[in-house]
């Protein structure tokens, strides 16, 4: 087919057959489901409400069918010994692997106010792992920062210097901080491509929480080398390092079901897969030439710059004639998931907006049909929540108005059949995949044994049943607000001890959902009590939203679950070298002396202005501005004096960042802080100097070695 070896008509035919079978099955199932639903609705009065119910039911059932067929196909691929003969991994036989030379590759990590220790410890482990393969010479590392938090910025610079010093990696690990974070992550990557893209043949994109083994990176580059027509090679990263119940359940579920679903989508996507934005390798020359993102018609949030860039970049790469491949068979690629429900929803809010923007692109010319379909799937993945909500609302109204007749899906044999089919499609693939693990002795033991594994499956199913209605409400809200051009307000977190959930934040954010669920449930109970049992699974999720968020967000409960052997994954029980090393390093880093709490907020400023070495690192990374205009000098002088006399609280975040970008100001402030009489400085600085002198016996850096 597609790759370097001859493009045989037999392989093309095979792929066409696969796609034909896959989509035919999905459409047949959707039609069958729709007919069943229509039959039920036609038994009573078929009015406007029934038309609405049927209309929203079709895409919902299509989604369900598509997921089920993907899972079954994936299961087929995973179970059979040959795997997927059309997968890109088959183009690199073991014998050929060692003989394929590598090409220059940049490992890039765009970051934005991330946990600095995690970022650089992750890089340290990847670097060491690559060193062990003996292929380090082909790789350079780039940390591309858009951080606007001055403390993070200074910590990043210091951590970069320390890491380079400790690994003797100057000229191998680079750091770039953009003055203006234009177009966020995609703009950051484009900035890298424009500056240094020509130096490398490939770019491996990592997220701040990504982790990849050296062997995996080497294998990916080799796969790209033997397949010159592949533009993007995406791995299927596994979730690791979850501490809360929320993160651990996602981690467990993604470990059990993820490989099967990835194998399923890879079965019919083959060379037209999507790019997930990280843990992937990209061929730089065609990426630079073809994948710059156009602005969408209209303004944000619906138009303007593209937020979910990865899907579009994959489609653009394919449009340029290159293939986008998923390689779920490659191990050693990891990422971390959101620790709490709230974090998950905040991420979904961004993804929802990004995916809805793709509506503009659905009719654009030049896309491959598969990529056009996947853009539509992306839109549908959020819109279905709204459709499900509407389906339930229409059903409720129907229940209210047909108090003597059938409720949501009718009653009797027909509705029992539809209910059974739906339940089978929802839970059947899950059960089959879980059963497969039960027959895989190695994975079963690594997941805690049969009893613990089955218990984990039951709890995980309950978890997702409770979470689904919450997601439905929030996704519906996100879709509506995006269409109306509105943002979402979140109550902010109070600082808590590590692992402790903030009840106030959760109650403020989820209290409304609980109220809505109560009103909905009580009105059902009063007006249409026969409807109530049907809605109970949905209502339960809404009622218990607050305790669910509190319990699942607790790291303590997560640790207890782990101690009980629940939600275990092979990556936890038999960690690979990179996972173990990262955990060890982070454990040591956690034992560092913490700064005084009242200095924490502006600790970066403190370090950059007080510590002579960190001050020098920062100055050496700044551009020297010769002859600044008098207005700028006056502006900075006023800021500097205010900072010294009144402390950092007297400056806005942007003013602090502006000062830190000004070479002369950083130099002047360092001199002044050390040479001024204590009484002339703000109390904050007096405390900072006292604290700094106490802890400065050891180098003050975000790294421990």
């Amino acid at each position: 087919m597609i790759y370097r070896h001859p493009f045989t008509p037999a392989m093309v035919e095979r792929l066409e057959r696969r796609r034909g079978a896959y989509f035919s099955t999905v459409f047949i199932l959707t039609i069958v489901g729709t007919l069943l639903m229509a039959d039920i609705l036609l038994t009573g009065d078929f009015g406007v409400l029934e038309v609405y119910l049927l209309l929203v039911f079709i895409p919902l059932f299509y989604n369900l069918s598509s997921a089920m067929v993907t899972a079954l196909v994936g299961l087929y691929v995973v179970v059979r010994k040959r795997g997927n003969p059309l997968s890109v991994i088959k183009t690199l036989p073991d014998a050929a692997e060692a003989q394929t030379p590598l090409a220059s590759t940049a490992i890039v990590m765009p970051i934005y106010n991330e946990d600095v220790t995690r970022v650089f410890e992750g890089l340290r482990v990847i670097f060491r792992s690559l060193e062990k393969t003996g292929e380090l010479a082909a790789f350079d590392f780039f940390v591309l920062s858009d951080s606007d938090d001055s403390t993070k910025w200074i910590e990043e610079e210091t951590a970069w210097m320390e890491l380079c010093r400790q690994l003797k990696a100057f000229g191998r690990i680079f750091y770039r901080k953009r003055r203006q974070a234009i177009n966020r992550k995609s703009g950051n990557l484009a900035d890298f491509c424009r500056r240094w893209g020509k130096r490398y043949r490939y770019m491996v994109v990592l997220d701040a929480d990504s982790l990849m083994s050296g062997e995996t990176l080497v294998k990916m580059v080799r796969l790209m080398e033997v397949n010159p027509s592949v533009g993007i090679l995406q791995t299927s990263p596994r979730l690791v390092n979850g501490e809360t119940i929320f993160a651990r359940v996602f981690q467990f579920a993604s470990r059990v079901y993820g490989p099967v679903f990835s194998a399923g989508i890879n079965y019919w996507q083959v060379g037209e897969a999507t790019y997930w934005g990280h843990n992937a390798v990209i061929r730089l020359a065609p990426f630079i030439e073809n994948c710059a993102l156009p602005d969408l018609p209209g303004k944000e949030p619906f138009g303007g710059r593209i937020l979910s860039h990865d899907f579009v970049e994959a489609a653009l790469m394919r449009r340029a004639g290159y293939f986008v491949c998923l390689a779920p068979e490659i191990d050693g690629s990891f990422e971390e998931g959101p620790p709490t429900l709230l974090d998950h929803l905040k991420r979904d809010r961004r993804w929802c907006q990004g995916n809805l923007q793709h509506l503009w692109l659905l009719w654009a010319k030049g896309w491959s049909p598969i990529h056009r379909l996947m853009l539509a799937h992306g839109v549908l993945s959020y819109v279905t929540s709204l459709l499900w909500f509407l389906f339930l609302m229409f059903g409720t109204f129907r229940g209210f108005t047909h108090t003597g007749g059938p409720v949501i899906a009718g009653e009797g044999l027909k509705s029992a059949v539809l209910f059974g089919v739906t339940a089978l499609m929802l839970f059947g693939p899950k059960a089959l995949i879980a059963a497969r693990v039960c027959f895989d002795r190695e994975q079963l033991e690594a997941s805690g044994g049969l009893v613990r594994f089955l218990l984990s499956i039951v709890f995980e199913t309950l978890f997702f049943m409770l979470m689904a209605p919450i997601l439905m409400i929030y996704h519906s809200k996100f879709v509506l607000l995006t269409i109306l051009g509105q943002g979402v307000r979140w109550a902010t977190q109070q600082r808590k001890a590590a692992g402790e959930a903030d009840w106030r934040e959760i109650i403020l954010n989820f209290g409304g959902v609980t109220m809505f669920g109560l009103i909905w449930g009580i009105s059902c109970l009063i007006v249409a009590p026969r409807l109530f049992p049907w809605l109970l699974p949905v209502l339960a999720g809404l009622w218990f939203c607050v305790p669910f968020a509190i319990f699942t967000g607790s790291a303590y409960a997560g640790a207890r679950a782990r101690a009980l052997g629940l939600f275990l994954t092979p990556e936890e029980t038999q960690p690979t070298w990179v996972i173990k090393q990262l955990a060890d390093n982070l454990g040591k880093a956690a034992q560092r002396i913490r700064p005084h709490p009242s200095l924490l907020q502006d600790y970066g400023l403190l370090l950059a202005l007080l510590d002579p070495y960190i001050n020098a690192i920062h100055l050496s990374l700044l551009r020297l501005r010769r002859n600044p205009p008098p207005e700028a000098r006056e502006y900075f002088q006023e800021l500097r004096e205010r900072l010294l006399a009144q402390g950092p609280d007297s400056l806005a975040a942007k003013e602090k960042t502006a000062l830190l970008f000004d070479h002369d100001s950083v130099n002047w402030l360092h001199d002044q802080l050390w040479s001024s009489a204590s009484a002339s400085l703000a109390p904050w600085w007096q405390l900072a100097i006292r604290q700094y002198n106490v802890v400065t016996a050891e180098p003050v850096t975000p790294l421990y070695r």
């Binding site: 100057f170 692109l361 010319k365 109204f397 108005t401 040479s675």
Partner: protein, 195 residues
């Protein structure tokens, strides 16, 4: 600065003992911030700096000894670090910053913490490494042009864009449209909820 003997007596002609005591503490802290951990060397360097400051203070007694001592310390450190590198046409403060970074990057503070301010203590190997150090935050630029290609969004998008822009230009129409939708939804709900 050349090596100098331990200076046990410091008797400034001007300034109060409290002022010089604070100046001593500040200078010592500053040198400690350079990871100078050898207490004898720290004491010795601090007193040496204070002696220089005291000499200047005698000529200008209005100056605060703390400020003056720190200025002397910073000057001496700037010059010492700037001497580590051979850079042309670079201002002293920049040169000094680069010298500090080079010294740090070559493990100077960890391996030779007492070397700071000592002219001939740096071993030749370290001296050479520091001079040759050129750790930069990024490699040489090789600029590429990455510009978006023209994209035909198709007829549907064009019509949608025109409508969208039209609505944005006419806030009254947008306002009326939103209310019309709201009224329609209410009407639909009214009829849907009737048996």
């Amino acid at each position: 600065m050349d090596p100098h003997p331990v200076t046990p007596h410091f008797q400034p002609a001007t300034g109060s003992p409290e002022q010089w005591s604070e100046a001593f503490a500040r200078v010592e802290d500053y040198l400690r911030a350079h990871r100078l951990s050898d207490r004898i060397r720290l004491h010795e360097n601090s007193l040496h700096i204070l002696q220089e400051a005291a000499a200047r203070h005698a000529q200008n007694p209005e100056e605060n000894p703390v400020t003056l001592s720190m200025r002397v310390a910073q000057e001496q450190l700037d010059q010492w670090f700037a001497r580590r590198l051979e850079l042309e046409n670079v201002p002293l403060e920049r040169k000094s910053a680069l010298g500090r970074v080079a010294f740090l990057a070559c493990d100077g503070p960890a391996q030779y913490p007492s070397a700071v301010l000592q002219a001939d203590v740096l071993p030749a190997e370290l001296e050479q490494r520091v001079r040759q150090w050129s750790g930069r935050a990024g490699p040489n630029l090789e600029v590429s042009n990455m510009a978006p290609r023209d994209m035909d969004f198709g007829l549907v998008t064009e019509v949608a864009e025109d409508t969208w822009e039209g609505l944005e230009r006419r806030p009254v129409v947008r306002f009326l449209l939103l209310w019309a939708i709201f009224v329609l939804v209410l009407t639909a709900l009214f009829f849907l909820s009737r048996p």
